[in-house]
Symmetry: C2
Subunit: 186 residues, 2 copies
Amino acid sequence: MGIFLALVHHPVLNRHGEVSSTAVTNVDLHDLGRAGRTYGVNRFFVVTPIDLQRELVGRVIRHWADGPGSKSPSRQQAFDRIEVAASIDQAVERVSEITGEKPLIAVTGASLVDDTTPFSEVTAMIRNSGSPILLLFGTGWGLAPEVIERANIRLPAISGPEGPLGYNHLSVRAAAVIVLDRLLGE
Amino acid sequence: MGIFLALVHHPVLNRHGEVSSTAVTNVDLHDLGRAGRTYGVNRFFVVTPIDLQRELVGRVIRHWADGPGSKSPSRQQAFDRIEVAASIDQAVERVSEITGEKPLIAVTGASLVDDTTPFSEVTAMIRNSGSPILLLFGTGWGLAPEVIERANIRLPAISGPEGPLGYNHLSVRAAAVIVLDRLLGE
């Protein structure tokens, strides 16, 4: 059992709908690290195939988890659950290593309207099932279709009073914390 | 009727528990502007008594709402609902001007555990009551006690499986979007 989170920087779409990579944003590490810790996420993977980006993120993680920044317990506890991964596959492998089981992959995205599983059902799966779940969040203009297609669970797009076809331009940070709250909040 | 949001940079607590001011963070404008627009917030006030900060924020708002940035509809629609205010009182006054009615003030904070009103009750108030509601979010180490005391509604601290006395160090951005989703999400 366990919930895992991955923030994906490749393969994601760019503004032209092409498969692309994005750069890691520092505030994502802090906001999602802290939110992950709040909601009991087992591990938060920062997924990027770019070596230099993984090196940089690794240095930021070490600063807060073990280095001078670890004097702040709230940051230390947030960052000691963050790991870098070169690909979604590598994150899946790490979950298998940690839990001894292959995770179910759940995807999220502003355009997911059809063939989705309601949040309440996924919450029930989390509570009852033995399988770990890996939640994928796409940066840029969202996860590439190839990622959506291989997922076991598609979560519905987050929407307000206008519904999923209205304004749907939350930051990935915002969408991710809302998904965590809907699945794991009291 | 209407929901209003204010991100308060004064009076808030600093790390030593003293009443203080914080600087405005650019990513807060983008994340909360977009979340406010998603959830149908009428207006999002950025509250700071510092003239230069209000000037700077005003320039950022104009860039996206009316200037070169307005070519992006998702940013334009997010920023044209953002206003600066010099104080909470000034934000309250603006709500009264816009709606013709004094708003109920709702406060939020990681330490609010006792004497709180459940989210479901506040949602019902929003749906049934004629009064506008102004949601206040504190930056830094949270809203000053004087602000908490004068509020009409105290929302419970956001918490995960550990409960409100466990790890509770969400960013104000994360806490605010979760509150919007709990009150106004489908």
